[in-house]
């Protein structure tokens, strides 16, 4: 809990106030995720001139238009590649990628796993609302089995990606999962991710009441948010067949600071030390010159 209430709203200086309100729907959880990230930045006293935020296409990616950093709103799925070039050119900047589940795991899946493999010093925040919002609620690679979307009117027959396991396997050296309902642990995850040297990946479960919620009768944004507190049960009720997200058997969520819920791993799920790419390049370049 921030102790000093007089400065606790400092993070708002990172907003482009003249651009607000943002375009996202009432009850959409994306703004909560952005808030946690901005508070983590404020908590570290980050100079906005030293932050670049890079995003792809989709609802979550539109958020970069509302933050007062150097912001780069790119093409669908390609944000990690743009960010890689930017980070290589200016290693001193904090380069943060905002991506969605469709943007980052479908069309941009290749870029994401290769950025992780390189262990380049980016923070990638993946907003997982289980659906394509911007285009009207179509199937995403994270849509749970049997759920309805605009392109799965009879229910989704495909299984969903577990982004955190994917990114861990790809080589990300910091992998965490948070949820919008728990903004304090989320802020803490963001702060640790920002402090991490190397590729940090934070997936956040967030809500799309307008499409995903409506198609699956999950209620308003507020109701969907509160339902996160009973994720497996709530969804098991509806599906009676499958859990909401793939179950992680080993209690890995206990690893660090986060909260663990039955069937779902939250918190910092993986952390390792490996040379960061721009530092490795700098060292090797010194050798090449000498």
């Amino acid at each position: 809990m921030p102790a000093d209430h007089r400065t606790a709203s400092e993070y708002r200086r990172y907003l482009r106030q003249e651009m607000m309100p943002h375009i996202l729907c009432p009850g959409c959880g994306h703004g909560i995720v952005l808030g946690a990230l901005l508070r983590a930045l404020a908590g570290r006293g980050v100079d906005p001139d030293q932050v670049a935020m890079v995003a792809g296409i989709g609802c979550s990616s539109r958020l970069v238009g509302y933050v007062d950093f150097c912001t780069l709103h790119t093409t669908h799925g390609r944000a990690p590649a743009f960010a890689t070039g930017l980070k290589l050119a200016r290693p001193e900047l904090a380069v943060i990628v905002l991506t969605g589940d469709g943007d980052g795991l479908a069309i941009g899946g290749n870029h994401l796993i290769h950025a992780a493999r390189r262990n380049i010093g980016l923070l990638c925040v993946l907003f997982n609302n289980q659906v394509y919002g911007m285009t009207g609620g179509q199937l995403a690679p994270t849509t749970p089995s049997f759920q309805r979307t605009a392109t799965t009117p009879y229910g989704n027959l495909e299984p969903a990606f577990d982004a955190c396991r994917l990114l861990t396997a790809a080589g990300a050296t910091f992998v965490a999962r948070g949820m919008t309902l728990a903004p304090v642990p989320l802020q803490d995850i963001m702060a640790q991710a920002l402090a991490h040297k190397g590729f940090a990946f934070v997936e956040v479960l967030t809500e799309c009441p307008e499409y995903y919620g409506r198609y699956n009768r999950l209620g308003t944004g507020a109701e969907m948010l509160l339902a996160q507190g009973r994720l497996p049960e709530a969804v098991a009720d509806r599906l009676a067949r499958k859990t909401f997200l793939p179950v992680r058997e080993e209690g890995a969520g206990a690893a660090a600071g986060g909260q663990v819920r039955p069937g779902l791993a939250f918190g910092i799920l993986h952390r390792e030390e490996r040379p960061e790419l721009t530092e490795a390049l700098r060292a090797a370049s010194g050798g090449a010159r000498g």
Partner: protein, 296 residues
Amino acid sequence: MSDVRSLLLVGVGGQGVILAGTIVASACLRAGMDVKKSEVHGMAQRGGAVYSHIRYGPRVHSPLVEEGGADVLVAFEWAEGLRWLPYLRDGGVLIINTEAVVPPAACRDRRGWTPGYPEVDVARLRGRAGEVLACNARALARRLKHQKVANTILLGVLASRLDLPDAAWQEAIAATVPASTVEINLRAYQEGRRLTFPRDTAPVDGSRRPVQARPSSRDGATAFLIDVVDGWCKGCDICVRVCPEHCLRLNGRERVEVIDAAACTGCRLCEWLCPDFAIAVRGVAPVLPDTARRTE
């Protein structure tokens, strides 16, 4: 040409404009008319401008309603109604919802209750249409205990001014809306059809300014100010639901307001869970009531 009627339905995303247009077209077909319809729904986000052109008669060639060509303009949202007013023909009928939905995507200069957003003032519409039928459809829908049928109430109003048989409307509604909501939609349609005008359309809630609650200092400990940026609030209800002290509520304009600032303990859940950055909780040093007033 004169036996072709031109209708224009306008509103913002999420209000059911497209669905309403489908019902109208379906009613026209059931009444044995030729009908053409064209619609635009902009950005996927709720709040983008949405409109539907409908023309019907014995033989219709084009669905597009020209400026000054609409016999009836049905505005599901106040500002959209004003924006489309030039499309109404001389002596045409304006059916307008006095509910204001500030479209977050469409226009930043129409931010809620800042000078850019047009004042909801029905009197100003006098003389700008042959007949003005203004009502707060959302408030009427709430009386039916079903907020989502505001669009059907407006359809009822529209039906009262068109020459299509009642049965065609009822069949069209029953065939178009989700099966579980047929009954409530038919009730809403009848409600709209029976409405008499003019109606009292005064805003349910008079507050126009960003709300700043007075700091609470119930026990001499740190007091808190809850700042609400009214124009950023989209009325999602999250803060109201999560506040452990029940300090907040949604007002008649579907915006959050502080009802019990003194109860605020500064937990900041409302601030952290507001997706729109519309709430900030500030702690202030313990203050006496009269100095608190001066800080406002």
